[in-house]
């Protein structure tokens, strides 16, 4: 079910005016206007131009009118339309980014919060506008040594790409500390980039600011060249997506794993160390980039089930059919814009489903989700009934001493 990337889909120089002449364009011509994209889109009912209407207009040579509408600002890059399209059209990978980029380029003004996030990312290497010199400040609080590549000056097995929210914000740092403890428990030979790390840029490419993305790609490829490591592991599905899908276009060639994939591959070594039972009902939210895009549904579930006492329950929408938290595609910085238009926050929609399972914990695999879901639980008054935890946090909690 997961769309795979063909070489033509990956070509970095695809442009809207020539798209119909490339193989992916032939696929666009085969659209049967079934409406699956509109019906599965979390904001589909609020879009004037749904993906299939965009295809219709593209085929008629009338795409201009789409650029004048807000429709694509609703796209949260959740890949739902792409994995369900019966013609296998790579909507979220190819067409929608191009159309969104043009839409943004022609707007007189952009939502403030969104614009600031992009500017911060360019200037400081993180969307929050934190100082890049403080990126590794969390490290001493990890409780275990977290080597930094520039200091340790040796080849390592794993380059752990920490990412932004998990470097700066307390609830994100909780996840980083947990990951560091797990790596130590497993004896992983790892290091981080520390202050040299910036946002991997997936937010850039899927919010469809391709220039920003390329700046960050160039920067990281240069940094990666300086060090010796065998693979990249990251706890952020957006970085994972960028490294798997987009970076290879620019000459990147390292094996990449999400932390949960990395840990699941070592579950036999990890399991004996999970000695502290947690006695929790846990429901797992499939993040869009790791789940639908990356095809990794079982690894996080296997990890959760390895924790003694954990009972895993599923929400109505799970795996391929998971509901987006609303943070992708720039949605992370469009909450007030959506609110001003009277739209339901997708994180609240998701949290309602999670609460309906009766679970104590909403387990996640993406740093965005920690903030979005904790916020939504508070807004809806469910914050006493349910907590949000990264799978790594739960694993670390279950580690014996």
């Amino acid at each position: 079910m997961i769309a795979t990337f063909e070489t033509d889909v990956r070509a970095p120089n695809i442009a809207l005016d020539t798209i119909l002449t490339i193989p992916e364009g032939k696929r666009l011509r085969t659209c049967i206007q079934c409406g699956t994209c509109a019906a599965t889109c979390p904001y589909g009912e609020h879009m004037e131009y749904t993906p299939h209407r965009i295809i219709s207009l593209l085929r008629r040579g009338r795409l201009e009118e789409v650029f004048r509408s807000d429709s694509l600002l609703h796209c949260v890059a959740c890949y739902a339309c792409m994995v369900k399209c019966p013609r296998g059209i790579r909507l979220s990978d190819v067409l929608l980014p191009l159309v969104k980029e043009q839409t943004l380029a022609r707007r007189a003004e952009l939502p403030m919060e969104f614009l600031r996030a992009l500017q911060n990312t360019l200037r400081y290497g993180n969307p929050m506008g934190e100082s890049s010199r403080k990126r590794a400040h969390w490290v001493p609080s990890a409780g275990v040594p977290v080597p930094i590549l520039a200091q340790c000056q040796r080849a390592v097995d794993v380059l752990w790409f920490v990412e932004c929210y998990t470097s700066y914000y307390p609830r994100g740092i909780d996840g980083s500390r947990a990951t560091a403890r797990l790596f130590h428990a497993l004896g992983v030979d790892f290091a981080i980039l520390g202050n040299e790390e910036k946002c991997a840029g997936d937010c850039g490419v899927v919010t469809w600011e391709s220039g920003l993305f390329e700046t960050l790609t160039d920067y990281h490829l240069e940094i990666f060249r300086r060090y010796q490591f065998r693979r990249i592991v990251t706890g952020d599905p957006h970085a994972y997506n960028a490294f798997c899908v987009r970076y290879p276009l620019y000459g990147f060639h390292y094996p990449v794993q999400h932390t949960h994939q990395f840990l699941a591959a070592r579950i036999d070594a990890l399991k004996p160390k999970l000695t502290r039972p947690l006695h929790l009902r846990v429901t797992y939210h499939d993040s869009c980039c790791l789940g639908r895009r990356g095809g990794s549904f079982d690894d996080p579930r296997r990890l959760l089930q390895a924790i003694p006492g954990v009972k895993l329950v599923e929400m109505a929408h799970h795996r391929e059919n998971s509901l987006c938290c609303g943070g992708g595609g720039g949605g992370m910085w469009l909450d007030s814009w959506f609110k001003a238009r009277g739209l339901e926050r997708l994180s609240e929609r998701r949290v309602r489903e999670a609460v309906a399972t009766g679970a104590d914990v909403l387990a996640v695999s993406c740093p965005y989700e920690i903030f979005r879901f904790e916020d939504a639980l508070k807004t809806l008054g469910y914050d006493r009934r349910m907590v949000v935890r990264d799978v790594a946090e739960l694993l670390a909690e279950a580690l014996g001493d």
């Binding site: 079910m1 049967i32 206007q33 079934c34 409406g35 699956t36 994209c37 509109a38 019906a39 599965t40 589909g44 009912e45 749904t50 299939h52 209407r53 739902a80 994995v83 369900k84 399209c85 019966p86 013609r87 296998g88 109505a316 929408h317 795996r319 391929e320 059919n321 309602r352 489903e353 309906a356």
Partner: protein
């Protein structure tokens, strides 16, 4: 290598334009001019359509007029017109094997764009054939007698119809069915579109006719295990699974079923797709043919432990039809032709998890609904959900596992119409609101569009949009209600329709046994896994294996009228073959020269067991009637003592030299 006897060879070379099919890419005239310069070529011509009557007449005329003794035609694939030209040559009094055909259409014009390169290739191919044909010798077509019996594999409507057609023509038919009863999928349907005939009412008389027909031997609960031989003479081994009830002694009274130590039916009933229950001893369905019970070895206490009171045996009494010691049997059948009618499987909707099949109790696939609506089904014809609900609103989702790149890309052809039928039946019987979510309504065929109109007029809702999501209604009073989410693409609105039951119109896919059958019968499959017909238009029931025909959905999705028509066609083709009494075989057999050293390397390699070793002479010999001309022994013989007609070394080497020489 022997020098070619070129002095007396007079070759006629003909190159075909095939309209613009070939001439559009290949410079035909240049090829003809070139061929005329080659040794042995008496004349070279080009013509618009060589296969046309005037084209053939041209060859015949030239043979007589110019005393040609070899002919080469460069045109389409020999699979299409080699017989045409051979016959034309024979009409001119020349042996038809003094001929060679060159494929410059499929192998050249249709796959190349560069005119100069394509023309160069055509010249090389022509030269290869011209150098080869010099070595051709006159050969005689072999005739092999044909057995008059026919094997039909599969006892659904296709197999039933083919068997009955042949049997009424006086042909002895063996019908093999792997289930315990005839009937296939059609027996599970409630009504049939567009006439709304009761499926059982039209099918069961034919099933009974099969059982009663003196010319049909019925092997139910049996499978083909081995196929040997070739067209006209197939040796088929049928594996007969033990049903633990002697077919000839059982009267179908079912007293044993009543007497079974299990008071209540407890086990999943396969005929009702697990929606109903049966006992370990059971009749698959009331009109089963043969009307004979069967014992399921997995659940019968006696067969599992040997410690049952055997109340069934007691109930059977003097009839003594129950035999717990029954063993699997192997039966050998000799037939002249085989009809494959092994049907299809419905798509497993679990593969599309967001429709909730197997997850929400009231999501069904269409075949299950046929059973629920059927008076003989598990609910006696009442539409009742797994949770006991009687639906007020029903969604029918079209194209589940059809027209979808992630599952099956093809249109399954029958789903639109059966969905219309189910919508109408549900509307008539329950007055529920029925919502059909469709991509396109496809109703080709006699009476089908009219049927669509009838269903529309009955008040069934039609929403043009593919369903993207099925999930439980989150509202507190929902009680198992599901939300079906789709865009009404004609209105441009996303709809969330609350329903009590969801029916998935699942597509048709190749039977899981198809791959195994393909190997058994040496058939070809399309990329999707359907059995491949020899030609989609002109040989729709023939396969690439002579004497084996296909009918029904094993060849591709089709409705009952098309299936029956195809089964009739397959029966007619089989009848034509066996009624002639013999088959003509290509004379491309292998024969052994005196140099044979008797090493026996070839013996185990022959797939047709055509080679025997003569102890006295210390040499092998090949039985021409069994040889199929595959060439395996020729290639394997270490001393080069096995030679194959039409593929002698000198012909092949000359052909290669011709192909590789610079044009």
């Amino acid at each position: 290598m022997k020098p070619a006897p070129q002095d007396h060879v007079r070759i006629g070379f003909y190159v075909c334009h095939c309209g613009t099919n070939i001439a559009g890419v290949v410079d035909i005239e240049a090829v003809a001019r070139y061929a005329a310069t080659l040794p042995g070529v008496a004349l070279a011509r080009h013509y618009k359509y060589m296969c046309s009557d005037p084209g053939q007449e041209l060859i015949i005329h030239d043979i007589l007029e110019h005393k040609l003794n070899r002919v080469v035609v460069a045109a389409c694939s020999p699979a299409l017109h080699e017989p045409t030209f051979r016959q034309a040559i024979a009409r001119a009094g020349l042996n038809p094997f003094l001929f060679q055909m060159v494929n410059i259409r499929e192998h050249n014009a249709w796959v190349h764009e560069d005119r100069a390169a394509a023309t160069r290739k055509a010249r090389a191919l022509a030269r290869a054939a011209i150098q080869r044909v010099v070595h051709h010798r006159p050969l005689v077509i072999r005739q092999v007698p044909v057995l008059r019996d026919v094997l039909v594999v599969g006892g659904g409507i296709a197999g039933i119809h083919a068997a009955l057609t042949l049997a009424s023509g006086g042909v002895k038919v063996h019908l093999v069915e792997k289930e315990p009863t005839l009937g296939g999928h059609m027996a599970k349907f409630d009504k049939t579109f567009p006439t709304l005939d009761c499926a059982a009412c039209v099918l069961t008389p034919k099933m009974a006719a099969v059982a009663a027909h003196p010319n049909i031997t019925l092997w139910t609960w049996s499978e083909v295990a081995k196929v040997e031989g070739a067209v006209g003479n197939y040796r088929v081994t049928v594996r007969r699974k033990p049903r633990y009830v002697i077919v000839d002694l059982c009267t179908g009274c079912q007293e044993c079923v009543d007497a079974c130590v299990y008071r209540e039916p407890k086990f999943s009933d396969a005929f009702n797709l697990g929606l109903g229950k049966r006992k370990p001893i059971y009749l698959p369905f009331p009109q089963a043919v043969p009307p004979v019970v069967i014992i399921d070895a997995e659940t019968c206490i006696e067969l599992k432990t040997g410690r049952c009171k055997k109340t069934c045996v007691e109930a059977c009494g003097d009839r003594q039809a129950i035999d717990f010691h029954m063993k699997e049997e192997q039966i050998e059948i000799n037939v002249g032709a085989i009809i494959i009618a092994t049907g299809f499987r419905v798509f497993n909707p679990r593969r599309i998890p967001y429709y909730g099949y197997g997850h929400y109790p009231n999501v069904y696939h269409a075949l299950e609904i046929e059973r629920l609506l059927n008076a003989a089904g598990p609910t006696g014809g009442e539409l009742v959900g797994r949770d006991g609900c009687r639906p007020q609103a029903v969604a029918i989702i079209h194209c589940v596992g059809s027209r979808d790149e992630y599952t099956h890309p093809w249109c399954s052809r029958v789903c639109c119409l059966y969905s219309l039928k189910l919508a109408l039946l549900i509307r008539e019987r329950t007055h529920a609101e029925v919502y059909n979510f469709y991509l396109d309504i496809r109703t080709p065929g006699k009476g089908m569009e009219e049927f669509f109109k009838t269903v529309q007029a009955e008040g069934v809702h039609f929403i043009r949009g593919k369903v993207a999501d099925v999930y439980p209604d989150p509202s507190p009073e929902a009680r198992g209600r599901l939300i079906v989410q789709a865009e009404d693409t004609l209105l441009g609105e996303v709809l969330k329709v609350p329903v009590d039951m969801v029916i998935l119109s699942v597509g048709l896919e190749p039977h899981p046994d198809a791959e195994n059958l393909r190997r058994l019968f040496n058939l070809s499959c399309s990329a999707e896994g359907w059995f491949l017909e020899r030609h989609p238009k002109l040989a729709p029931v023939n396969t690439f294996t002579d004497g084996i025909f296909v009918a029904g959905c094993c060849q591709g999705p089709k409705d009952i009228p098309d299936t029956v028509a195809q089964a009739g066609a397959a029966a007619a083709e089989a009848y034509a073959l066996i009624n002639k009494g013999h088959v003509e075989l290509e004379p491309n057999t292998a024969h052994v020269l005196d140099d044979c050293s008797g090493c026996k390397s070839c013996l185990p390699l022959c797939p047709y067991a055509a080679i025997t070793y003569d102890e006295a002479r210390g040499k092998v010999s090949i039985l021409e009637t069994l040889c199929k001309g595959c060439g395996t022994c020729v290639a394997a013989c270490p001393s080069g003592s096995i030679v194959q007609h039409q593929f002698e070394d000198d012909a092949i080497f000359s052909e290669l030299e011709g192909l590789l020489a610079d044009a």
